[in-house]
Every structure is written in C-alpha cells, then in structure tokens.
Symmetry: C2
Subunit: 482 residues, 2 copies
C-alpha cells in the first residue's frame, strides 16, 4: 500500500486552486446582479476549506512520488475536482441533482462537452462561465499531464513523448517545469487571441470569452442550447474551426516553433496525418452533401468543416443537426469521433499518433508475410519505433474496444436504445460530447437519460481522458500489494 | 511476378471437384422429378470443362508452392469456386441475376449464411441441397486450410497452430497429409451423426441432411425462410445447438482425443474460453429475457442458447426474431457476432485464441506499468507466446476494425441505413449471416439490397474467411515485384 499522504496533499493544493477559480463566477454573477454569486461563494469556500484542510493535515511529507502514487494522484485528482466542481450546479437556481451536477462537472473537466442543462440561453452568467472555466482548466491540465506525467507513466504509448529523449539529439535538455510555465502562458495567449477574434466577428465580450475558453480546450460547452449554430455567422464558424484545430495539435511544438524551430511542427508525423485527415474528410463529406442534398458548395464546405473538426477533435459544438444529413453522414460522424487529435493537445479520442503507430506496425506485418526473411522496422517521426511503444499502443486499442463495447452493453441495459447507447459510449470515451440519434445527437442533450447511465457515462469520460490504463491499473490486485 | 501455372493447375483441380459435387443436386432433382436437374448438369459440365482445361494446359509444372504462390492460390480458389458455384442459381427456376447468384455462392462457400433467396420453402430441392453442399465444402475447406496452409502463411497469429511445433514435445511428427484424411473422415462422420440425430428428432431425411451439413459447417443456410424456427421443436434446437458448438471447436483436437489424448481438448485455452463465454452469455441473456419479457425460464434458456451460439459461432440460423427482444439483446447480439469460434474449426469471426492472446498481452502491459522492472511473459496454452504472434494478432485486430468501419461507410454510401450497414458489415466480415434491424435481421434477408452493396458484402465475406491478411497481401505493390 503506497503512502497516501503526498497524494492527499497535492489533491488539497488542486482543490484550493479550484476554490480560487470559483471566484471568477462570483465576480461575473455579482457584475450581472445575479443572486447566484452567493452560490459560488459558498462552493468556493467549501472547496478552499476542504483543500486547505487536506494540505495542512498532510504537509511536510516527501512529495517526490513513486510510480503508484503518481497513478493514484492522477485518478484521484480527476475525481475530487469534479466532485467539488459540481457543487455550484447543485446550489444554483438550475437546481440540478448531484448526479446531473457531477455529470456536468466531469464532462467539463474532461473537456467532453456533453450537457444535461436545457435552457442555457437563459442560465445565470456565472453558471455559463463556470462551465467554460471547467473545460478551460481541464484543457491546460491535460496538456501539462501529457508533458509531465503521462510519458513517465508509459500509458498507451505515451512514452513516445518524453521531452528529454526528443531533445537530446540537439543537446538541449530543458526542464519539464520550464515547459509548464511556457505552456500555461501560451494557453492563455491563444485563448485571448481566440476571444479577440470572436469579439471582432461580432460576439459579445461574454460569449467571446466563454467560447474561446471551450474552443481552445476542444471542450464544446456553449452558452446556447443551439451551440455555435446560434450565431449563424460564417466568420464565427471559421474562427472556431481554426482554433479547434489549434487546440488539437501538440502544444509543445508551438513552443519549439516560437523558439526558432517551426519546421518541427510541420514535419511532425502527428500534425501531418491530422491535417491530412481533416482535409480528406471535409472534402469527401462536403462533396457528398453538395451532390445529394440541398447545399451550395461553399455552405457545404462551411458546415462540414466545422462539424467534422468539432466531432473529430472531440470538441462537440454543432452548427447543424447532422443527424438529418442522411445515413452516410451519420456513419462518418460515428467513425471520426474516435479519431481525436494529437497527443499533447487538449483533444482526446484514440489519438493520431496511435493510428500512425498501428499503420506502421501493420504495414511491417504485411510485408513480412511474403518476405519472411526481410527486416522491416516501423518508424515514428523518422526514428525506429521502440518495441514497448508498439505493444502499449496495440493494448490500448484492444482495451478501448472492450471498454467501448462493455459501456454500450451497460447503457442499453439501463434502457437506452441501441444507437443512443453505442454513440453515447463512444462519445464519452472519446470525450466528444454529442452522440447520434434524436436524444443525445447534436440537437439533443443528456438530460433525459437515467441516473445510472449518467454515472457510467461520467466513468467513461474519466477512463477516456486518462488514457484508460491510468484508471485500470488501480483495479489490478497486484497494484495494492506490498 | 510469381509463376502462375501451378496456381492455375490447383484451381483447375478444385473446379473439377466442384463440377463433380454438382452431380449431387442433379441426382436429387432427378429423384424429385424437378426439371432443374438439367440446370445442374449444365453447370457441372461447365465447371468440369473449365477445370479440366486449366488442369490440362498447366500440368507438369512444379507444384511445390513458394509463399507468394500459396497466397495467390488461396485467394484465387476462393474467387473461382463461388464464380462457378453461382451458375446453378442463375440458370435455375429461381432466375437470380449474377450478382445475387455470386453473393449466394460466396455466402455459401465462406459459411456465412446470408441469403438473397425468398421462398426457400418452395425452392427446388436441388437448389436447397446445393446451398447446403456449398457450405459443407467451404467448412471442410477452411479446416484443411487452417491446418495445412494458414500456419505456413503466418496470417494473424495462425502460426500458433503449426502441427509440428505442438507435437514435437511428444516426439510425434505426423504428416499434415495424414491429418487431412483423418479430418475429412471425422467431418463426414460428425455430419452423419448430426443428420441421424435430426432425423430421430422428427425431420425428414432431406431436411436432416441439409441442416446437418450447414450445422457442422457453422454455415446457417436452411431449407425454410423461417430457418430452424420452422420446426418449432425443442429437441431439434438442442441438437443443432450442440453441433454448432462441435463445429466451432478445433477439429485437430478431436483427432488427438480419438488417439487417446482427450485431455488436450479439455485443457486447450481456446476450448475453455469458448465454452466459458457461451455459458456466461447464455445465462446472462436468458436471465434478462426471463425477468423482463414474457418467457418462462426453460424457454428463455432454449431460445437464448440456440441464438447466442448461432450468432457467436457465425452460423446464423434463427429460431426467434431477437430484434424484438429489446435493445439490450440487440446490443449483445451485435457484440457477440464478432467473437467467432476456435481456430481450426469451421467458424469465423475474430476467433477465441486472438482474444486470449490480446488479454494476455494487455495484462502483461498493465502489470508492467506499476512494476517497470518486472518481467511478464504472456502465455498461450502454458507456453510463452512467441513475440511474432502478439504483433500478428494485434495487427489483425486493427485491420479488422479499419476494414469493418470502411465497409460500413461504403454500405451507407450505397443508401443503406446505419444499423443495416454497420451490422451487415460486421456480419459479412465475421461470416455470420443475418444482421440487425428489419431488413437483414434474423427475420429478413439480403434480397432488397442494392447490387453494389451485395458485391461489397461478398468481398467482406472473402476478407473475413481468409483472415484479412491473405487477401490484403495481394494488394501490396511489393508483392508483385521481382
């Protein structure tokens, strides 16, 4: 049994930060003269009190974590923060039950974007900004984890992204902590840039900031039930599309680009495959829409680009009910929701680098079949792929499939229809947001689902966000021994 | 470019055998005074003529095949035989187009069991027995291939089943050819046993033989549109269920059991996992049916056992429209159709041994996460799993997924609805037969699908039956070089 005190200590620190973040909606609601500011103040104090208590009672122990403590810390943080982040939803005038509130908070922090709230357009501004903040914090949280924690934990092939190893060739060994500061500054800067662009495109300051935060986080919470479709503006669509893409590329490469190595971004296998996929999918689907439906070519391109990028990156905004685009479009959206973006970005899903690794391994397999004595070395970013990465990535795919199918079965057992269950399971695991069909599709929401289904979907979001292994390792009996 | 003459020569031999097999429906139709006997005679002569021509024009060359010729032979056989096996369907009073006839023949030889024929109950007896024969021949064909060809080709982890390697420990090195004779005898014997049992249970000799052939082949063609449900007999259901299971276990182990080593069968990892899965799934689904629907426990057990085994083994008979059992049952049937039976049986799907390998690899991965310096060796049947098998199996899973999703997309593009497309794609790749929904579900058939969809489904059956890699390797440019 590992020492839990350092784990509790860091959880306490995060809780303190969450409590401080809740002061933002306090100020927003106070500014709009909405009585909900008291709700946020109460939730903020509760979080600060609990976090402070944890910190005070467990400080002074060694905080250099061993492996198992790192796993425990990662999972417990992603449970404790939504547990407290849910409080404002319970106390506010929305009057959600705790199940719904936890679902909404988990959906926020994991940058999923599935919502149980109907009537966003008339919701208190504090609640709206709190939903955006949850996604925004979840977004930077996952970027930092992808740089500082995941490579160490070696989950699902993330060991490919050790900063040290990729930089030793240039004799630069930057400290991870230095990167974290730069990443945070970059994240704030990109969010501000997006907000300004949206403001120039005609959005109110409030809507611009709220959407900038959930765009860069590829989260997908909006301030309207109609999502970004409410604005009905081509320039807004284009700005959001671009920044969803920005949020889906590896943030570390932006920093390296800013430090004078822009080619690293362009030559990166993940970035190339991601952009290629976006272009191919958008052109294919737009052509199909243009030829079979009542769309002009420019509007077909605009609507497909937005919704394909939104679903593929796991953002989950909608500007159209693509359920009504026919079964070909529905199938395309079902498939691309699993793709995701790049590792080291805010997006989720199976992730581009895993497809690259899987294709490289499978090609080597096929060539070996008819040239049994040939030597075929799968490569990633020009370097031979370490043996351990191949195994990790393939196990990830298998686990993803198994969990996806089990989650689908559990969801139908709670009474959901097949399409809602299978698309809901995929959407939760890939942190997308909307599913397919009339209930949870882009025009619907998760409010009417049974409570059990909501808890399992929240679990799915957690599993997907933490790359499955991080959570499952805690369920191994061997983990707790010795 | 490999020498094609030996490939054509063996294809000619197989075609001769097909032509001879067509004499069976000639005799059956003649016996029932159905004028269709002329149709089969014509088709038989055409096959014998074409086969004989191939044999005569290419004989005398070295028939020891190199690797690439073995791949070409395997794929071309599985294209040439359905191409000629389709002729009776075109010429007969059913008057099918060639697309439908090829679909039916491919569905037969791959033991899929999807049908485009409506009105089986009034179809000429020759046609009915020909459909059974196609599946029966396909069944023994795939068993022989699994023993003699697939381990050599090393596709998708099938190298695990090299006879030599598994027997050297006992210093018995049987020749593959000796096994083939024993396998054929066993296959005939089991079919006769099944036919006798069905006869005793009240079926006419014709129905008993026709169903025995498609049961042991886990094929699923029936002599009635209502499939085995037509007989409405519990004893028939039980006999068919048992023999579908018999058809899904590794046939080589039966021979080893008959030679005094029955424990090999019981201790085999595939057999154990397969039987465990059947029991768990049947108990789970029967309990659910019993508690939520209007079923007594015995009838719930009878109907679930039959239909679960039928879909999981890829047989594809139906005794009930499980579409009407609610979305939980539908989801279960969707998932289990991918499982399949054991390697070296007549069943298809992803196959039990692959799940065993995937689980073993993933467990080792997870344990390595928190014990980075531990050594975890995944095992299969008590022996350490060769490195190459792990990679092959994992690539197989990835390819299966990619092809499944692409096939789904192609099918929706031909105009099918989402559920028909996704379940049809899975059903074809896993050689099951029926899909889900009203059109191709257990109560429907494939007749109304567009021609393009039928061709792609037939391609899916071929890919699934030949373990994907065998076909895909031919599409690699490198295969044809030098």
């Amino acid at each position: 049994m590992p020492d839990l005190r350092p784990v509790l200590y860091v959880n306490g620190l995060f809780l303190l930060m969450l409590g401080v973040a809740m002061q933002v909606p306090v100020l927003v609601d106070a500014n709009y003269h909405n009585p909900d500011w008291q709700v946020f103040l109460a939730a903020s104090l509760a979080s600060i009190f609990a976090g402070g208590g944890l910190v005070l009672s467990t400080r002074g122990y060694d905080t250099r974590l061993e492996m198992r403590q790192a796993f425990l810390l990662t999972v417990s943080t992603w449970l404790v923060l939504p547990a407290f982040g849910a409080l404002p939803f319970v106390f506010s005038e929305l009057d959600l039950g705790y199940t719904e509130a936890f679902f909404e908070a988990m959906s926020g922090l994991t940058t999923t974007g599935a919502t149980v709230i109907v009537g966003l357009d008339h919701a208190p501004p504090g609640i709206l900004i709190w939903r955006s903040l949850l996604q925004w914090l979840g977004g930077i949280g996952i970027i930092v984890m992808a740089v500082a924690v995941m490579p160490m934990l070696q989950v699902g092939g993330m060991q490919l992204f050790r900063l040290e190893s990729s930089d030793t060739s240039d004799k630069i060994v930057p400290r991870v902590t230095e990167y974290i500061g730069a990443l945070a500054a970059l994240y704030v800067g990109l969010t501000a840039l997006c907000a300004v662009a949206l403001g120039l495109a005609g959005l109110s300051a409030f809507d611009a900031v709220a959407h900038a935060m959930t765009t860069i986080a590829t989260g997908g919470f909006s301030t309207s039930d109609a999502s970004v479709g409410m604005f009905g503006s081509a320039s807004v669509d284009i700005i959001v599309t671009l920044f969803m893409i920005v949020g889906s590329l590896p943030f570390v490469l932006y920093i390296q680009a800013a430090r004078g190595r822009p080619l690293l971004l362009w030559r990166d296998d993940q970035v190339r495959l991601f952009l290629l996929l976006v272009v191919v999918l958008v052109v294919m689907l737009a052509t199909w829409l243009w030829m079979t439906r009542d769309f002009t070519l420019p509007s077909a391109l605009r609507f497909t680009a937005f919704n394909v990028v939104s679903v593929m990156t796991g953002t989950g905004y909608a500007t159209a009910d693509y359920n009504a685009w026919g079964s070909f479009a529905v199938a395309v959206f079902f498939v691309i929701m699993f793709i995701g973006g790049c590792a080291g970005s805010t997006s989720c899903g199976i992730k581009i680098f895993r497809f690259h690794v899987l294709v490289a391994l499978t090609r080597a397999q096929i060539r070996r079949l008819f040239q049994p004595h040939g030597v075929f070395v799968p490569r990633y970013n020009g370097r031979p792929l370490p043996e351990s990465v191949g195994g990790s990535v393939m196990s990830f795919l298998f686990l993803f499939l198994v969990i996806f199918l089990l989650l689908t079965l559990v969801l139908v057992a709670t009474g959901l229809d097949f399409v809602t269950a299978i698309s809901g399971a995929g959407s939760a695991l890939a942190n997308v947001g909307p599913g397919l069909g009339d209930i949870i599709g882009p025009a619907g929401n998760y409010q009417s689902l049974p409570a059990t289904a909501k808890w399992f979907l929240a679990l799915g979001m957690l599993l997907g966000r933490l790359e499955l292994f991080t959570v499952l390792v805690l369920l191994t009996p061997g983990f707790w021994r010795a």
